[in-house]
């Protein structure tokens, strides 16, 4: 049996596949890169060749310009490519639009790199598909038993209750520009909120990109309009940093909300001055992480980033060999 390290091994640049000569989500420019999804800490500009889903390539082009890489190769979900005997395919990860797990096969050995993923339903991307494998390489952003994300419908209902309770105020929901913002908008539509949703300028291009991929966001209006009073009772979606920014002064006595898995912990909400924390995450919570490992039952579990030690301990307690890779450069604080 081949050692898994000879197929994929951690390097400072990222996970490296020697027999196929490519990196997965490298943090610096490399010759060949397989990119799992479009968040900035996983998808960087300047690689020679980028292999990713069509959606992820479109997101990268939108963020970095059309010339973000020397060349690109789009893979449909499940469509394999083979080079030097190494087969690579991309399988839905359920994280954001275009997000994928990278399945790498070589000489009878299967290794799956999860990228960032979640298990619950997301109206903006296809659901995570478990792939049976020898080594499952998982993220662990929320790898502590305190992270148990509630049903997202319940969180949206809390937001709408607050909007009804404070009709004279506006609600600004901090949400990351890629994925979270569009998911929150879709969830609001599903919950029956049919009024225009006001959006910060930094979200506009990615919103259009999502719409071009068939995800209907309903009527969106720029949050730059005329008089202050216009925003009473309004829902505004903005990047999290905008909440503390001078930009937010145009709104009447705003309720600061933040859609993030970190909002599970009260001190985090308090630190950022959040009045209405919404626990809506694009990452797997503790129960999803452990259920996924349990379902896949890999020969070995490798953990890329996040709170590796707790998930590793859980795996060991359940008879699965685990190893923390401690990859650097993946910023679990910024995204989600």
């Amino acid at each position: 049996m081949i050692r898994p390290e000879s197929l994929l091994c951690p390097k400072p640049q990222g996970l490296y596949c020697a027999p196929g000569d490519f990196f997965i989500d490298p943090v610096v420019p490399v010759t060949r890169a397989v990119i799992t999804h479009g968040h900035a800490d996983h998808a960087r500009a300047g690689h020679g060749t980028v292999i990713a889903t069509r959606e992820t390539l479109a997101i990268m082009a939108e963020r970095y310009g059309e010339d973000f890489a020397g060349s690109t190769q789009a893979l449909a979900y499940g469509e394999p490519i083979v080079r030097d005997g190494v087969e690579v395919s991309l399988v839905p990860a359920g994280h954001v639009l275009g997000s994928a797990q990278a399945v790498v096969r070589w000489k009878g050995l299967t290794m799956v790199v999860s990228g960032d993923y979640k298990r619950r339903r997301d109206p903006t991307c296809p659901a995570f598909e478990p792939v049976s494998c020898d080594v499952f390489i998982s993220e662990a952003t929320f790898g502590l038993p305190v992270f148990r994300h509630p049903d997202d419908g319940q969180e949206i209902a809390r937001l709408l209750r607050s909007v009804a309770q404070f009709p004279e105020r506006s609600h600004i929901v901090g949400a990351y520009a890629l994925g979270k913002a569009q998911r929150v908008i879709r969830l609001l539509r599903e919950a029956g909120w049919d009024q225009p949703i006001h959006v910060h300028g930094a979200l506009e291009r990615l919103n259009q990109l999502y719409e071009a991929h068939g995800i209907e966001l309903g009527r969106l209006e720029p949050a730059t309009s005329t008089t202050r009073q216009d925003f009473a009772g309004a829902i505004v979606i903005a990047p999290p940093s905008a909440l503390a920014d001078r930009w937010s002064r145009r709104f009447p006595d705003p309720v600061a909300a933040f859609a993030s898995g970190w909002m599970q912990v009260r001190a985090r909400a308090r630190q950022r001055g959040i009045e209405l924390p919404l626990v809506i995450s694009d990452h797997a919570d503790w129960d999803e992480l452990t259920a996924t490992v349990d379902e896949i039952r890999p020969g070995e579990l490798w953990i890329t980033h996040g709170r590796e030690e707790a998930l590793a301990r859980w795996a060991e307690l359940h008879g699965i060999k685990a190893r923390a890779l401690a990859l650097v450069g993946y910023d679990d604080e910024a995204e989600d």
Binding site: V146, F147, F166, V265
Partner: protein, 539 residues
């Protein structure tokens, strides 16, 4: 339980008083009896349990999960109740979620071992926020920033009545307050307020506007007395029921057993709670040693003896005197206090004056002794009845001019709610001489009001343009001899403090003027504050 839990959750992260009022009012209007009554009691501190000790909760959770994973979780979150609420492995369908009233009923009748079994069953059935609320309630640590005053205001808003009406009946009622809600919802008459030892809503004074009011007022219509710098209290003994209340109706009897013992009368008086030694007043700092304590020992009682300086009589031998004019009440009060055999209750003397000019002189140069520590003067119309609330006209307060210093802005912190995008909380300092002889700033206080919205924008810009360091929501602002922003800071008094590096603490500091024109190097020295302090102490 779910609605109560959501209320606590929102309150714990809400800073604005208005938003809190809305949250509490809506909860009380929407929740059923008797849940809302118990919730109200929990919010106002009239209901708390110590049924679950932290050690028990820890043990219970460690039986259900790997202790190491629990420890890591606790280290990460830092709060036991919150950690347990998050990590508790829920068993949906294990039980029905309990209502708040079920929890209260069960805890009242259960033995200690039964209680522990019950709590575990409830934790199994509840979701995260519910578990958190339950654990906070069980461990007696709600701390969501709801004063009893705010709760009463929310009740008044809910029922469309004046808050004084709620206060009038409050102390005759008991959780879960079903008669109170029935009245507020128009289903019954106002509950009877006649319970012995109850609180009566207090009468408050308007600040006088020197430029406008004096021209319209006749000095002969008004009595003047010093505005004592203590805590406004209402002391009651009716049929042997003795109570000491703050002006908001909070019962502080237990904190002041020495005062309570002195209430050898039948009636209710309005006055100032102060530390008094041989009939002479001590400073507010001394009184602070006695405030907010759960238990008091003999040493504290001896070193900081408390008493009441009486200024009004609200009831005597079952007669409601509030309907009498102040002149009449004052005569009755003098006779009333005259019969008391204690030295802990004395009279606030009336200050004679002929004209407003004469009174102004008295205010600016108080006579030696107690008046030196007064905050200013009170004016009361001789003909006024005792009216709850803050009516315009009968009572005025005329505060002493504040102390002023020039200080330099050192740190700024982002505000909350409306001000969350503004650096609106300022730490300011004055100059001291370091060991090396160089002048350096030392922080002496914090202020977050006293400026207009327009000025706030300008200060915010200054902070952003002159940031030299950041710590979370706080920015350090450039402040040296040649560059910095000077505030004229107004404050009511000074006291020594071991908690502040500078050794002094200010009372009610606020920004009185922004000195854009003044070079930072010309701001005040710590020495000038120390001199002020010596003057106050040496009175």
């Amino acid at each position: 339980m779910r609605a109560f839990a959501e209320l606590l959750d929102r309150l714990s992260l809400t800073a604005s008083r208005n938003a809190k009022l809305t949250l509490v009012r809506d909860y009380l209007a929407g929740a059923p009896d008797p849940d809302r009554g118990w919730a109200l009691a929990a919010l106002t501190g009239d209901l708390s349990f110590t049924a679950a000790k932290p050690a028990f909760i820890r043990k219970a959770v460690e039986e259900r999960m790997d202790p190491t994973l629990f420890r890591w979780s606790y280290d990460y979150v830092g709060d036991l109740a919150e950690t347990v609420a998050l990590v508790w492995p829920s068993r949906p369908g294990a039980n029905r979620e309990p209502e708040l009233s079920e929890v209260v009923d069960a805890l009242r009748g259960a033995s200690r071992t039964e209680v522990q079994r019950l709590i575990e069953g409830w934790l199994d059935a509840l979701e995260t926020t519910g578990r958190w609320a339950l654990l906070k309630l069980m461990t007696g640590g709600l701390r969501v920033g709801v004063s009893s005053r705010l709760a009463k205001q929310a009740l008044a808003d809910m029922g469309g009545v004046e808050v004084a009406e709620v206060e009038e009946v409050w102390h005759a009622l008991h959780p879960p307050y079903e008669d109170l809600f029935a009245w507020l919802e128009g289903r019954s008459d106002r509950p009877c307020a006649n319970s012995p030892g109850r609180f009566r809503p207090v009468m408050l004074a308007q600040a006088i506007d020197e430029a406008v009011d004096f021209a319209k007022l006749d000095p002969a219509d008004y009595a003047a007395e010093w505005k004592w710098d203590g805590v406004r209290v209402q002391a009651v003994n009716e049929g042997g029921v003795r109570r000491l209340y703050t002006r908001n109706g909070d019962d502080i009897s237990r904190t002041f057993p020495d005062v309570l013992e002195a209430l050898e009368f039948d009636g209710a008086i309005d006055g100032e709670l102060l530390v008094m030694r041989d009939g002479e007043l001590a400073s507010f700092a001394d009184l602070q040693q006695r405030l907010n304590r759960k238990s008091v020992d003999a040493k504290l009682l001896m070193n900081f003896p408390a008493g009441i300086r009486a200024y009004d009589l609200l009831s005597e031998a079952g007669e409601d005197t509030r309907v009498l004019p102040f002149a009449e009440r004052r005569k009755r009060l003098e006779a009333f206090v005259g019969t008391l055999k204690t030295s802990r209750i004395d009279l606030s003397p009336i200050q004679a004056f002929e004209s407003w000019a004469q009174l102004a002189e008295l205010r600016s140069a108080p006579s030696p002794g107690d008046p030196q520590v007064a905050e200013g003067l009170m004016l009361k119309r001789w003909s006024s009845i005792y009216e709850a609330g803050r009516p315009k006209g009968p009572w005025f307060k005329w505060k002493r001019d504040p102390f002023l210093i020039d200080a330099v802005l050192m740190y700024a912190q982002r505000g909350h709610g409306k001000r969350s995008s503004f650096y609106s909380d300022y730490t300011f300092g004055v100059w001291t001489e370091g060991e090396d002889g160089a002048r350096a700033l030392t922080p002496v206080g914090k202020a977050y009001f006293g400026f207009t919205d327009e000025e706030l924008k300008q200060i915010d810009k200054f902070v952003r343009d002159n940031t030299i360091d950041r710590y979370g929501p706080v920015r350090a602002v450039r402040a040296d001899l040649h560059h910095g922003l000077v505030f004229e800071v107004a404050f009511e008094g000074l006291q020594r403090s071991t908690r502040h590096k500078s050794g002094v603490a200010m009372r009610f500091p606020r920004i009185s003027r922004i000195r854009w024109d003044k070079p930072a190097g010309e701001a005040d020295e710590l020495r000038s504050l120390e001199r002020m302090l010596e003057q106050m102490e040496g009175r």
